[in-house]
Symmetry: C3
Subunit: 472 residues, 3 copies
């Protein structure tokens, strides 16, 4: 793949390339991802060196290497003790981590990870030479050199990539210091926080009390019971909004949203404060809180994102040694229809409420998600998530949902990126695939070509701005 052909990934007639050319240069709108706000708030910040940037901090890469028997230490991860503290004081050899990637580059053939890597090296760093065992060191040097220049400072890259707006994901207890600084240095909320309260809701998590303390501190409000917990959450939501937030984000293994009585919710919360709660009770509380957060969103207008279906830390022995987000989360089937019913009956028809759904269970696309979004005014469908954000995954999503919901019940594209350098490749792939998909519908007589141009624009730009209320 020495040269990247212009029509790559589009898989259609000339119509597809034509559609793509109409959207290729649109600004990037990125309302959901995991880039650290401090990188953007601090002018002197620089990205990690190549090995850490492309391997250690990328769970897609780490999991593939691990699946082929590579110990996580070699990918630069540090093991921890029982209290979660790093006990590995080894200095990671970043060149060796990069060489590991290069030596295993063949594993990534036909994966989006391999595609993003090639695209990023080519379009961000100008390196079209294939990465392999023998080219690794030369490419390392070229990447590392560029990363150390001001042109590759995070903020400079945002400008170069035409990032119009970008949202980070922030714990409910985050001080939002970086966002406060950004609000001063860059008025207009080009960078926005997103309110993610998962950690304060997981009553049985080992770090729940720490998370709760963080919430108390950030809200400057003591949390002694369920009622004060709700007050603190509302305070933080208001603070997030003040700094430009338009959305919240919630992750859960199940789609259950059964509401508890205030009395039962209070009792569960009290039990967690004074002792331990069972797994079942913790899950009931989480389900209840999803319902409660929907009500808060009806009040304050924050768009609610819901990511369902990951069984986190499937490999507990490995999690005990290396912590979370190391590529060992495994999806399970999701019952969206029964799970969301309590939430949707209560809030789903409210014109002020918006709920964006992300799934790891593709079988639910046509069976449950499209029918739900095709009925409830509040529901929009998020783009293919995680394992499914891929060339064929995008086709499957569009094929399975649009015949029931059309395109105007979709929420456009979010990149879910952890690295600034990953942004262009992800948005460009979405644009190429959606244009190719639309072109095939034109060729089949299912769509007028002039309408296809409008829909390509919506998929690349219009839908996501409306869904995340970025114009309001």
């Amino acid at each position: 793949m020495a040269d990247l052909k212009e029509g790559r990934y589009i898989e259609s007639s000339a119509v597809g390339v034509d559609l793509y050319q109409g959207v290729a240069e649109l600004p990037i709108v990125s309302p959901h991802g995991h880039i650290d706000a401090r990188l953007l708030a601090e002018p002197a910040a620089r990205l990690d060196p190549p090995g850490r940037l492309f391997v250690t901090t990328d769970h897609y890469v780490v999991r593939m290497l691990h699946s082929q028997g590579v110990p996580l230490e070699r990918a630069g991860l540090l093991s921890r003790d029982a209290d979660g503290r790093d006990v590995d004081d080894r200095v990671v050899d970043d060149h060796a981590v990069w060489q590991l990637l290069a030596d295993n580059a063949h594993l990534f053939a036909l994966t989006p990870t391999g595609l993003w890597l090639r695209e990023t090296l080519a379009t961000v760093f100008g390196i079209e030479e294939p990465l392999g065992p023998h080219t690794a060191e030369a490419i390392y040097v070229r990447v590392e050199e560029q990363l150390s220049t001001p042109a590759f400072a995070p903020w400079a890259l945002l400008d170069r990539f035409q990032v119009e707006c970008l949202s980070t994901t922030d714990a409910a207890g985050s001080s939002l210091a970086a966002h406060r600084a950004l609000a001063v240095s860059e008025p207009g909320f080009r960078i926005r926080p997103t309110f993610r309260p998962d950690a304060v809701v997981a009553l049985d998590a080992v770090d729940w009390r720490d998370a709760l303390s963080g919430l108390e501190t950030a809200a400057d409000h003591e949390v002694g019971d369920y009622a004060s917990f709700l007050v603190a959450l509302a305070e933080r939501r208001a603070a997030f909004k003040t700094l430009g937030a338009t959305a919240t984000d919630h992750a859960a293994m199940s789609a259950d949203t059964t509401r508890l009585t205030h009395h039962d919710a209070s009792a569960l919360f009290a039990a967690a404060l004074t002792g331990a709660v069972s797994d079942a009770d913790a899950r009931r509380f989480e389900a209840h809180m999803l319902n409660e957060f929907a009500r808060m969103s009806m009040d304050d207008g924050l768009v609610m994102q819901l990511h369902v279906g990951a069984l986190r830390d499937h490999n507990r022995p490995l999690a005990a040694r290396f912590g979370r987000d190391i590529g060992a989360d495994i999806p399970v089937a999701t019952d969206w229809t029964r799970g969301l019913r309590p939430l949707l009956e209560a809030c789903g028809s409210d014109p002020g409420f918006a709920l964006i759904l992300f799934t790891l269970d593709e079988s639910a696309y046509s069976r449950e998600l499209a029918p739900l979004a095709g009925h409830y005014p509040a529901v929009l469908l998020g783009c293919p998530w995680w394992f499914h954000d891929s060339p064929a995954g995008i086709d499957r999503f569009l094929d399975r949902v649009t015949e029931t919901v059309g395109l105007y019940n979709l929420a456009g594209f979010v990149d879910d990126a952890r690295a600034v350098t990953a942004l262009p490749a992800r948005h460009d792939l979405w644009r190429r695939r959606t244009c190719g998909w639309l072109a095939r519908k034109v060729d089949a007589g299912l769509l007028a070509e002039e309408d296809a141009h409008q829909l390509a624009w919506e998929l690349a730009y219009g839908l996501v701005r409306r869904a995340y209320r970025l114009d309001s």
Copy 2:
């Protein structure tokens, strides 16, 4: 999409167009749908005006509009009081309802609803101009003019569309007055009733007693217990057969067919008559009755259609205001394998019994439905249903089932239509898509071209006549 190209929706080489030309003019066989028999029995009957015909009575259209925040009242629906009576004495402005559709026509891009609408306007009404905000009124006038002419009387349309036979769907307690009239005026059972007993089986439904009274009246047989209930059902089945019925139809959320003892079934029925039954008991009775209806079909030869997987009235607050069939039914996953086992072990190998299965859970196509139909002599697979009766849905169905069951275990196509005007577009889309799909198999070397012509005929005409025993 100003002009409709001849090869539209076929998506294949010239072989596909050639196959399509061989079946395009075949008569329409429509053994399952929801057209009101009275429209056909009454020579003076006329179809609804445009807004009511294309919007208010079409739950696909209503749900899409609602999903984008349009209140159901604007789509012409009338709200009801707690007793289910219309309380909205507003006179619906049919022009406004039509304008609403036109203003939102862009929502239906890439949906079968949009495709059917365009095809129907073009091929039934001769209107190729795209429907939009500015063309709405002119198109309304042209459609409305035609609808009021004798050439657009329901029966005249059946002739024009070459509808060879058409079955309605009728409650077990229906008097079948219209069918009796038709049997006199049009001998030969071109129009047949279908026995649908769901309402008398749902012991916990609010209108169960009304439905039961209807059954008693129609059967002229008092229903005081389970035994007399079975007698009344058998009487109605016989009456339906006398008027040309060849099939029954059953809808359930679950595929469970566990049989109760006669004693337990009698006790549940008695409990329902004298008081309330729990949700769980009502579901057990429904499962039992599916099993019992299969036994009745073994006796009387009526083909049993089974539609599984819709959680009806997901949005109960809306159902309380507007009633059923407003686009708020949402599918759930279905366990066909375990669910149907009791029924199939009892009846599935009987040469006189036929069971046609319809699913809303596409993941079951290859996993459960094709293996079941590929073993049990009684089982045939119905075509893609509801959300899945669409261009890509038809491909998915054929791709996932035929490799296991071939084509001769399929039941052909049913349109499930609620409007006479909808018939041509639905059958034509099925014919185009199946021919395109067959042509791609020919091009891949998987099918001989001469065999493809035979299979195209079977898919368009032969299979459905045999499956529904229309020749007997």
Copy 3:
């Protein structure tokens, strides 16, 4: 389909044919199937006559005929009495069985069964004339003549088909007499046994005690309790290894692998020895034993194959008359993520352990199986199994798993064949389809053409040899 075109089934540009030509002549590696070792150990052995070979012993053919109402007796099956003994002393007319297939050849259009039959007749027997009612007898004579020649002796066919190695599947209690003979006559383990202990693990099966006796005899070790059961199993695994085995095989309806305490496992085993165990307890014991077999594999290095998801003998009345493997096994949904967790947390990161997963639930490909194989070093994905080993099934598998796991976490192809004559068609179809699939990725710009050649070789030959440790 009078002539078989060279590029058949490839469905791609010239690149696909080019890729195929590079792998078409590679030796066949067949590490999983159901060919009887005695056919290979006995020089005078001959294959069954045509009707028995192509119909009676092929459950794909039997099930299709049965689904269309053909009594199993006509397909050559013999009914049994309550003790499982054949009571049908009828002499089967093999010509009539073959004629039955020919009369129903149209049923197999678009099925892999039809494709394999046509390919086998053409490429193994030189018969390109279509099989049908009028050609049946002439083709019978030609097939039967060839089958009786030494050139069609099983061993001769292995040479002609370039079968490099082939594994049989053998009960834990098998004496392995044929394999011992083969080890003498054909050193080098071209034919290997596979250890399949399902029958001795199913505590509630009617033939469990017979299977257990077989194990005792083969192991020459009395099994009086759970501890001695484990010893006997370990002995047999060692004996299998001595005769060239590199793998075990396990089938289960559920993926559950929950471990019991030694005490609980012992108690269940003792209960089974002295009386009956419940269905639930039998399933708990099976789950436990999957976990235990994984531990044994960690010790002895035998690759563990796991086939999950078939509800066996769905049609019990028919099983009572004709026994197992008559085409009445029906898949159910599988929860791989939760089910395998106990096994994988215990063994999944062990570098000496390998686990190859086969599913009947395609919805799990992208949701669970690819993420599992893309994390755990031990896990590899087996090729599409049973109903899914088909042209479109192969595409679905590759499309859904490779974007998450790449190709190097796949275990290549196994044919699962029951007849020696079936081998070439199955491997050839896999090679054609994988090459066509790779070529489409090349055309889409997702894969470099030179890399595609390497991956085609891996899919046809390299992966399976490594996965099954055939080089060690």
